[in-house]
C-alpha cells in the first residue's frame, strides 16, 4: 500500500489522474475504520492532509466557500457557527471530541452515508459541492451529488474541493435521534429551517431513506409539515431501529424543529 502526499491541489489532482484508483484520505475517521475492519485494502492512498487549498473557509459576496478539509470542530466555531447554525449543531452531534477534531465535511461527502450528519443541514441551505479534476472544476447541487447509499457523483479522477453555500439567515436547527446520548450514528436525524424570506419551510432528514432528502413546503403549511416529512421518508428496519419508529420520530422532530424555528 503506497501513500502519496501532495503539497498542493494541483499536485493532488495530477496524482488522482495518474492513479484513479487511489483512495483519498482526509481525517481518516471513515477510511481507517474500513481498513481496520479489513473491508478495504486500497493499493494507493492519497493523503489530502497537506493540501492547503482544502483547508479553512472564505467568504466572497455572501457566498461561503468551505474547504473540503474543514473539521467539525471548525464548523462549531464562530463566526461559522452563526452563519450556519444547523451545521454547527449537527457537528456537535458527531462522534466524540477526537472525531470532531479529525473528521471533515469532505470526508462526510466522500462517504455519502445516509447517516452523514453534515448532509441534512447543508441540504436545507441549498449547498453545492465543488469538485475538480485536472480538466477543471464543476459544481453539483448537493441533492444531485448524493446518488445513493454510500454513493456520490464523483468521477474517479475527481476530488471534492469545497462546499459552496449562501447562508439563508433563516432560523434553523438540527436534531439527531440515537439510543445513547453521545457518540451514536443517527437512527434518524432532521434539519429544519423556517425561511420567511422565501416563504418556505425546509427540512432534510438523514437515516430514513437511501439518501438524505430535502422536503419543502410553503410557510403557511406548518400544520401538515411534520406529516409531510414523515411520509417523504422511506426508512427500513435495521440493527439501529425500525422503520415505524423512524417515521414516528421524524414527525416528532419536525414538530419540535418548527416550534424552535418559529419561536426564533
Amino acid at each position: 500500500m503506497d501513500v502519496l502526499t501532495p503539497r498542493s491541489l494541483d499536485e493532488a489532482l495530477r496524482l488522482k489522474t495518474e492513479h484513479p484508483d487511489a483512495v483519498p484520505i482526509a481525517g481518516g475517521t471513515d477510511l481507517m475504520v474500513a481498513l481496520n475492519f479489513d473491508r478495504e485494502r486500497p493499493g494507493v492512498i492519497l493523503n489530502l492532509g497537506e493540501v492547503p487549498e482544502l483547508r479553512g473557509w472564505s467568504r466572497d459576496d455572501g457566498l461561503l466557500r468551505i474547504g473540503a478539509g474543514l473539521t467539525y470542530a471548525e464548523a462549531m466555531a464562530e463566526p461559522l457557527r452563526s452563519l450556519l447554525p444547523a451545521l454547527a449543531e449537527a457537528s456537535r452531534t458527531v462522534g466524540s471530541p477526537q472525531i470532531r477534531n479529525r473528521g471533515t465535511l469532505g470526508g462526510n461527502l466522500g462517504t455519502a452515508s445516509p447517516a452523514g450528519d453534515s448532509l441534512p443541514p447543508l441540504l436545507v441551505e441549498d449547498a453545492e459541492v465543488e469538485v475538480a479534476s485536472l480538466g477543471g472544476s464543476r459544481r453539483i447541487a448537493l441533492h444531485e451529488f448524493l446518488v445513493g447509499p454510500k454513493q456520490n457523483a464523483l468521477a474517479p479522477e475527481e476530488l471534492i474541493v469545497a462546499v459552496l453555500v449562501r447562508p439563508s439567515g433563516a432560523p434553523q436547527t438540527f436534531m439527531k435521534v440515537g439510543p445513547r446520548n453521545a457518540m451514536v450514528i443517527a437512527v434518524c436525524s432532521l434539519a429544519v429551517a423556517v425561511d420567511r424570506e422565501r416563504g418556505e419551510l425546509r427540512a432534510a432528514f438523514g437515516s430514513a431513506g437511501p439518501v438524505p432528502l430535502l422536503v419543502i413546503a410553503p410557510l403557511a403549511e406548518a400544520d401538515g409539515f411534520p406529516a409531510l416529512v414523515a411520509s417523504a421518508a422511506s426508512p427500513i428496519d435495521d440493527v439501529r431501529g425500525t422503520a415505524a419508529y423512524r417515521r414516528h420520530a421524524l414527525r416528532v422532530l419536525a414538530v419540535r424543529g418548527l416550534e424552535r424555528c418559529l419561536a426564533a
Binding site: V33, N36, F37, D38, E89, R92, T93, T173, F174, M175, K176, V177, G178, P179, R180, N181, A182, M183, V184, I185, V187, S189, V239, R240, G241, T242, A244, Y245, H248, A249, V252, L253, R256, E259, R260
Partner: protein
C-alpha cells in the same frame, strides 16, 4: 519449572501483565483506599496489555471462523493457503495433538471444528505467518465446504428439535435427568406449598437480550515453545490453572509442560473464563517451533467469546393484603448457545436467586437452559441473578401498585434476614443486611429537577439536541437484589498463595508474594499487597507475576470470589511464613491453600439443600434511580443514582466505589442499549459502531453507601463486591423508566419503540 522466556515488549516499559508485575509502591493496609498500582500506567498508556506482547522471531496466528450458525463440514481445502508467502503453518482439527474437545466444565467444544459448526464464528482452521496480513490473506484462501443445516435459534423450540449434541455432555453430573433434546440443564426448586393462595397476585413475562462483556482489550496472547516440547502461554485470562488443565490434554502434554502466565488484561467480566487463543496459539507455536501471537479483531472478539444468557421469564407473585409474599412461581428459559460453558451454574443461580432478597415460604422455580445455534453464552458479571432480578423487581413494583403499598415499604416488609430460610432450604447465617441496604439507599436524596432551559446535554437525547424539554417526564425507581459470593453447589474451591520472607540489603525484612489470582481490572493486586502488608507488618512487599509455574491455583476471578479467596490465602501464607521464620530464623518460602466453608449439591429433584448449605455467602444491594424520559421519542437520560451495598468489609474503599460505578454502568448498558442482535443465529452488530455501551453522558453521578456488616466466614469480614451493582442496576433503571412512562417495559434493553408505544 522452566526459566521465564525473555520478552521484548513493544513500545512499553512495563513488563507483560504489569498489573501483576512486581510492585513495591506505598500501598497501605487493609481498609485503606490505596491507589491502584496499575492506575498510572493504564492512564498514561504505558501498561502492557496482552495485545502488546512481542518476542523475537514471533509469528502471527489467525483463526478461520465459520460464517454459518449451523452447517456440516464436508471438507477443508488448505493447499493454496499453505503455499502463500510468509505462511509457516495451516492447521485443522486433524492437527490437534491430543483431546479434540475441551470445555470449562464439560468438554463439548471442539478445539477446531471437526465435521460440524454449531455457531457463527466457531473456529475451523489456524494459520501462522510472518506478518498478520499474510496470515489473514492465507486464511482467506482456505475453503471450507459447508452444507448449511437448519439452525436451532428459538430456545422455546430447541427441546423438540434435532439434538446438537446427541451424546448429552452434561448428563450424569447429578442434575435433574431431563431427556428432552438440547437441554444443558434443567432445574426445579420446590419449596413449601407452591399452590398457596394469596389475596392478590401479579404476573408478567420478561425478556432479557444477549449482553456482551464488551471488554476493550480483545482476546490476545503469545505462545512460546520452551524447546523441550512444552509451552509458555502469556494470555489475558481469568483463571490460569483451569486454562492449563484444559490446554494440556488437547496438546497431549503433561500439565507442568504447559505454563500459563497472566498478561495484561483489558477487561474480562466473565468473558475470559472460557479459552480463546490458548490452545490455538500453542498448537501453532509447537508446530512451527516459533513464538506465535494471536490478537482478535473487534468483530472476531464479539463472535469469539461467550455472552450473557438471554432469558425469557414468566413470573407470578402472590401476596397477602398486608404485603407479605405468600408464593412465587417462576419459569426461566435460558439460551446457552452451542456449547455448555458455565451454563449449568447460570441455571442454578437463576433458580436460587429468583425470588430476590425476600422471605418466600412457598415457591416453585423451574429453569431450563438449552443448546442452540445462537451465539454461545457463558459467564458474565452477575450471571443468572441479573436476569431474574430484572423480573422479580418488576414483579415487586407491580405488587406494590396492586396493593397500594409504597414499593420501598413492600421490600422492607419482606426483606430476608439471618435466620430466615431461602427457597433452597438453606438457612441464612452470618451477615445479610437486606433491610439495611434498602433503608440506606431509600434514604439517599436525589437532587431537585433542574430548571429549563438547559444545555441539551443535560436532557434525554443528549448531544442529539432532540428536546429542549418537550415530552420529558421524570421517574424514580427502586430495586434490591442479591447473589452468592464464591462458587457453590459443592464445588471444592481453593486458592493458593506463596510467601517468601527474606532479609533485604540492610537486613530489613522483605517479602515476595505469589498468587495466581487474575488481576482483571478489579484491583486484586492491591488487595493482595494490602493483606500482605497488614499481616507481615512491613512495607516492602512485592507481588510476583501470576503464573502456573510457581504457585498453585487461585481459582477464578469470578463469582465475586477473588478478593475473598486471595485475601484468605495470602493471610494464611503470611501467618505461616512469619511463624516459620520465627521458628527457624532463616529466610522462608511457604505456600498455603485456603478453602472457604464447604458447600453441598442441591437435590436434583427438589432443588433443596442436601448435606449442608449450597452457598457460602450472599451479598445484597439496593439502588434508587432518577430518570428523565422523553416519552415522545423514547430516549432516556439518567439523572442520578443512589445505592447502598453490603460489602462486609471494604478492603480498599476506593476500589469498592470503582466496582459499584463500573458494575452499575454495565447494568445501565443492559437496561438501555447493550444487545447482541442476531438473524438466523448470525450476529448482525459485531462492532462498537452498533453494539453500544454507555458513554459518560449515559452514566449519571452515583452516590454509594458501603454497608459494612462483617461476614464471619470472610477474611477480615469481607464479601465480594463486583457483581451486586450489576444485578440491581438494570432492574432499578427499568423501575425508574416505568415510573416515568407508565408502561410495562418487560424487555431489556428497552427499545425506544416500546417507550413510545409503537
Amino acid at each position: 519449572m522452566s526459566a521465564p522466556v525473555p520478552l521484548l515488549v513493544a513500545r512499553c516499559r512495563a513488563l507483560p501483565g504489569s498489573a501483576a508485575g512486581k510492585h513495591s509502591l506505598e500501598l497501605g493496609r487493609v481498609g485503606e483506599s490505596a491507589a491502584r498500582v496499575d492506575g498510572i500506567p493504564k492512564t498514561t498508556g504505558e501498561f502492557a496489555y496482552s495485545s502488546d506482547l512481542a518476542a523475537a522471531g514471533m509469528l502471527w496466528g489467525h483463526t478461520v471462523r465459520s460464517r454459518h450458525a449451523h452447517a456440516r463440514i464436508r471438507g477443508i481445502e488448505i493447499s493454496e493457503a499453505v503455499g502463500m508467502p510468509g505462511v509457516h503453518a495451516v492447521l485443522t482439527h486433524d492437527d490437534v495433538p491430543g483431546e479434540k474437545r475441551y470445555g470449562l466444565e464439560f468438554p463439548d467444544q471442539p478445539v477446531l471444528a471437526i465435521d460440524r459448526v454449531r455457531y457463527f464464528g466457531e473456529a475451523v482452521a489456524l494459520v501462522a505467518a510472518e506478518h498478520p496480513e499474510q496470515a489473514r490473506r492465507a486464511a482467506a484462501k482456505i475453503t471450507v465446504d459447508y452444507e448449511p443445516l437448519e439452525p436451532v435459534v428459538d430456545p422455546e423450540r430447541a427441546t423438540e428439535q434435532e439434538p446438537l449434541h446427541p451424546d448429552r455432555p452434561t448428563a450424569g453430573h447429578g442434575y435433574l435427568d431431563d431427556p428432552r433434546p438440547n437441554v444443558i440443564r434443567s432445574m426445579v426448586v420446590r419449596h413449601g406449598d407452591p399452590d398457596a393462595l394469596g389475596d392478590v397476585s401479579v404476573e408478567g413475562v420478561y425478556e432479557v437480550g444477549i449482553q456482551d462483556q464488551a471488554f476493550l482489550g480483545p482476546e490476545s496472547g503469545l505462545a512460546v515453545p520452551d524447546g523441550e516440547g512444552g509451552i509458555d502461554i502469556y494470555v489475558a485470562t481469568q483463571w490460569l490453572h483451569v486454562d492449563r488443565d484444559q490446554v494440556a490434554p488437547c496438546l497431549a502434554l503433561e500439565p507442568e509442560q504447559v505454563r500459563i502466565h497472566l498478561a495484561g488484561v483489558g477487561g474480562a467480566f466473565g468473558g475470559r473464563e472460557d479459552l480463546s487463543m490458548q490452545i490455538h496459539g500453542a498448537m501453532l507455536a509447537l508446530h512451527t517451533g516459533r513464538p506465535v501471537k494471536i490478537v482478535y479483531g473487534r468483530e472476531e472478539s464479539f463472535t469469539g467469546h461467550v455472552h450473557r444468557h438471554p432469558a425469557r421469564i414468566w413470573a407470578e407473585h402472590r401476596a397477602a393484603l398486608d404485603g407479605r409474599l405468600v408464593a412465587v412461581r417462576m419459569r426461566i428459559l435460558l439460551d446457552g448457545g452451542a456449547y455448555a460453558s458455565s451454563s449449568t451454574a447460570v441455571v442454578a443461580n437463576a433458580c436460587a436467586f429468583a425470588c430476590g432478597p425476600y422471605r418466600v415460604d412457598n415457591a416453585l422455580i423451574e429453569s431450563t437452559c438449552v443448546y442452540s445455534n445462537n451465539p454461545p453464552c457463558g459467564a458474565m458479571r452477575g450471571f443468572g441473578a441479573v436476569q431474574t432480578c430484572f423480573a422479580h423487581e418488576a414483579q415487586m413494583d407491580k405488587l406494590a401498585a396492586v396493593l397500594d403499598i409504597d414499593p420501598v415499604e413492600l421490600r422492607l416488609l419482606n426483606a430476608l434476614e439471618p435466620g430466615d430460610v431461602l427457597p433452597t432450604g438453606q438457612t441464612l447465617t452470618g451477615s445479610f443486611p437486606v433491610a439495611e441496604v434498602i433503608r440506606r439507599a431509600a434514604a439517599l436524596d436525589p437532587p431537585e429537577p433542574e430548571e429549563l432551559p438547559r444545555d441539551p446535554l443535560r436532557l434525554p437525547g443528549g448531544s442529539g439536541n432532540t428536546t429542549h424539554g418537550q415530552g420529558v417526564r421524570r421517574g424514580i425507581g427502586f430495586a434490591a437484589g442479591f447473589k452468592n459470593i464464591c462458587y457453590s453447589e459443592g464445588f471444592d474451591d481453593s486458592c493458593a498463595a506463596r510467601v517468601r520472607l527474606f532479609a533485604g540489603g540492610a537486613g530489613e525484612l522483605q517479602a515476595e508474594v505469589h498468587c495466581a489470582g487474575a488481576e482483571v481490572g478489579q484491583g486484586v493486586t492491591n488487595v493482595i499487597l494490602q493483606v500482605a502488608r497488614t499481616e507481615l507488618g512491613i512495607e516492602s512487599v512485592v507481588l510476583a507475576p501470576a503464573s502456573t509455574a510457581d504457585v498453585g491455583s487461585a481459582g477464578s476471578a469470578s463469582a465475586s470470589r477473588m478478593t475473598w479467596m486471595a485475601a484468605g490465602a495470602v493471610q494464611l501464607a503470611c501467618r505461616a511464613a512469619l511463624e516459620e521464620r520465627e521458628r527457624t530464623g532463616v529466610d522462608v518460602d511457604v505456600e498455603r491453600v485456603y478453602r472457604h466453608p464447604r458447600t453441598w449439591p442441591l437435590d436434583p429433584e427438589t432443588g433443596q439443600i442436601t448435606g449442608g448449605p449450597a452457598h457460602v455467602s450472599f451479598a445484597c444491594a439496593a439502588m434508587k434511580v432518577v430518570a428523565e424520559v422523553d416519552v415522545e421519542l423514547g430516549l432516556t437520560r439518567l439523572v442520578w443514582i443512589g445505592t447502598a451495598q453490603d460489602v462486609g468489609k471494604a478492603v480498599n474503599p476506593q476500589a469498592v466505589y470503582g466496582q459499584i460505578e463500573g458494575g452499575t454502568a454495565q447494568g445501565i448498558g443492559l437496561a438501555l442499549m447493550e444487545e447482541i442482535q442476531t438473524r438466523g443465529g448470525l450476529i448482525t452488530n459485531a462492532s462498537f459502531t452498533d453494539y453500544l455501551i454507555p458513554t459518560t453522558l449515559d452514566v449519571p453521578p452515583i452516590v454509594a453507601e458501603l454497608v459494612e456488616d462483617p461476614e464471619p466466614d470472610g477474611p477480615y469480614g469481607l464479601k465480594g463486591v463486583g457483581e451486586p451493582p450489576t444485578v440491581v442496576s438494570t432492574a432499578a433503571v427499568l423501575s425508574a423508566l416505568r415510573a416515568a412512562t407508565g408502561r410495562e417495559l418487560a424487555r431489556v434493553p428497552v427499545r425506544p419503540d416500546e417507550i413510545v408505544g409503537l
